[in-house]
Symmetry: C2
Subunit: 219 residues, 2 copies
Amino acid sequence: MFSPTEENYLKAIYLLTEKDSARAVATNELSAQMNTRAASVTDMLKRLADKRLIHYKKYKGVMLTTSGKSQALAIVRKHRLWEYFLVEKLKFQWDEVHAVAEELEHVKSEALIDKLDSYLNNPKFDPHGDPIPDRLGKLSASGFKNLTSLKVNEKGKVAAVIEQQPAFLKHLDKLHIHMSTPLKVIEHIAFDKSMTISINQTATVNISHEVAKNILITK
Amino acid sequence: MFSPTEENYLKAIYLLTEKDSARAVATNELSAQMNTRAASVTDMLKRLADKRLIHYKKYKGVMLTTSGKSQALAIVRKHRLWEYFLVEKLKFQWDEVHAVAEELEHVKSEALIDKLDSYLNNPKFDPHGDPIPDRLGKLSASGFKNLTSLKVNEKGKVAAVIEQQPAFLKHLDKLHIHMSTPLKVIEHIAFDKSMTISINQTATVNISHEVAKNILITK
DNA sequence: ATTTTATTTTAGACTAATCTAAATATTATT
DNA sequence: AATAATATTTAGATTAGTCTAAAATAAAAT
């Protein structure tokens, strides 16, 4: 159907607009996300536009068509299901699974993914808290808040993380912050936007804005 | 490390010489196995020879080097472990798994395969009865006999099948011949080399030489 | 409203893997 | 041993995906 490279471009466009699917993605944004040169992106955008997977106007950036979005969701579904499998069944750490899932997501078999989904009991969120689209591309609405938006004394549990680099995830491990860990805001430091929080009612630490903005919270 | 295509050529050479690793594989044999033209095979053989994965003399065919063989065994290991996973855990039929495993075998992660191996409790044979190499490339010796070599009244159980095309496997399903099914030879028909056998002490049927030679038997 | 800077696109080239058609080797047959 | 048939290799082309360098466009700054 589509090559792994085409799939990766579609996925990248989707992920860059996951929060705001109306906006256009710039060529340079994509080249950064894909680790390629802008010229290569332009080449690929022409091909994807020919296949009616994206809306593309020269110099104006790119958006997914309905068909492109449903393709992208299918790939994201595969990626997140495999991540869930790797952590739940094969006992990988949550910071180790991304690279492997990048490869597994391109294996082409509807039956494989549907059977994997059943085998895992149709999980709704992957190990990083990201929603897993169902066969039809539907996402469970999360209603998560960003940690930075909580007021002093507000509490919540870790529901998801945005950044998924191993370096970031290992940092959270060191702080004993995991999925479902209870957090409470002690203080916002205006000077550097950092926050003091209590973790699991035991430790109290200061975390940078950079870290806080990558943590999503639920009740 | 190696491209999926390079891996496929190594695997093909290995499988063609699994019974007799001393013999050379001809270009045309490989082109048939890989569904490509002989000219493409020649191109690839030059590349594999440059990488010291095969011994190659123009017009004289090809053999794996020690390094090529250990690469090939690693790929065969992945293929057969994934087949086992697909049948045992995801409940695929044994005739459905080959194509999917062809893709999964190229996913590059030592950790993935080792963890999968443990998760499956280090199986020694795949769903078709073929031995699964261990991490070091070692195979469990099977000592299976070909069904065609059994004498009248000799008994045994199905231990493996050679041909793995869905059409063949479905034919066996129809005859209720599966892994471990007890068989007994009733008669050899000299005229067409077919055999009459009893299956599971219930049915008695005649099977062609073509079918019989693809079934391996153990006690 | 120009000019400068940044972004994006085009032009042309490269590699891996494939193909067809033609040339060359090997093997089999008379 | 010469010839015919088969197998293999070479030559040259093609496609996907990438690159660098240069040209074109858009956005920002004066």
